[in-house]
């Protein structure tokens, strides 16, 4: 018999796809800029600073990139855990831990960005 899927699971499933599509674009650009098109020399503070300073689009790009990455990573790991039908206590503990990790990672990432330009 078909079980009814909870609205929350459906929403996170959809958001995983949605953030994934965004990340495909973000990550492709990010890797192109930092690896493929930057194949000579070291990446230094000056390089990153030069790209971000005064560029509204690069700043917007990276300020969106950070939370999208964090959401996609933690929601993805949560989806794997949920597949193994964890106990109620374990679910609550993991979700709480993931929220804390998500907030810390996003905060550190965003604060790092503000220090790069």
């Amino acid at each position: 018999m078909a079980e009814k899927v909870s609205n929350q699971s459906l929403l996170t499933w959809f958001l995983q796809r949605f953030s994934g599509l965004f990340l495909a674009f973000f990550l492709f650009t990010h890797i192109n800029v930092h690896h493929f098109l930057h194949s000579e020399g070291l990446i230094s503070f000056a390089d990153v600073n030069a790209r971000l300073t005064g560029s509204f689009w690069w700043q917007l790009f990276y300020f969106l990139f950070v939370p999208f990455c964090v959401f996609h990573a933690l929601n993805g790991i949560w989806a794997i855990i949920a597949d193994y039908r964890p106990s109620k206590g374990f679910s609550i503990f993991t979700k709480a831990a993931f929220w804390i990790i998500a907030i810390i990672l996003t905060a550190v990432g965003t604060f790092t960005l503000t220090n790069l330009f």
């Binding site: 796809r17 994934g20 599509l21 990340l23 495909a24 990550l27 492709f28 890797i31 690896h35 493929f36 194949s39 000579e40 020399g41 070291l42 990446i43 230094s44 503070f45 990455c69 964090v70 990573a73 933690l74 993805g76 790991i77 794997i80 193994y84 039908r85 964890p86 106990s87 990672l105 550190v108 990432g109 604060f111 790092t112 220090n115 790069l116």
Partner: protein
Amino acid sequence: MAFNNMFKNALDDTNRNKNVGTFAYLLHRITGIGLAIYLVMHTYVLSSAISGKETFNQRMGLVQNPLFAILEVGLVAGVFFHMLNGLRITICDFFGVTLSHKVFFWIEMVIFIIIMIIAIVLQWPKMQSGYYTGM
């Protein structure tokens, strides 16, 4: 607990269902967990910018050498496998072509191999230390 024997179960599933779909499913999860761990390490390295320009350059210098250039090829492989496979799943689901998922898998593999060849060619000088010229 449901996590008992999870690795054994994953292997049993693969043995019962030997097709590219199961292989892609397993690899998607493994690369996903790997990339999530990488995200934390990446944030740690870059967060040195909070302590200033010199700390950033110093810590970035630690991870920019031939050893890490080789490891980065693995990273790029993980990223592009996960990305292309994710796009394949999304296309199959949303455009109702799930039945052709194996065809899409081989298209994905062709694109993946092309990208990896380009990545290795571009990364090659860094693996020889030739292009790391100092700050």
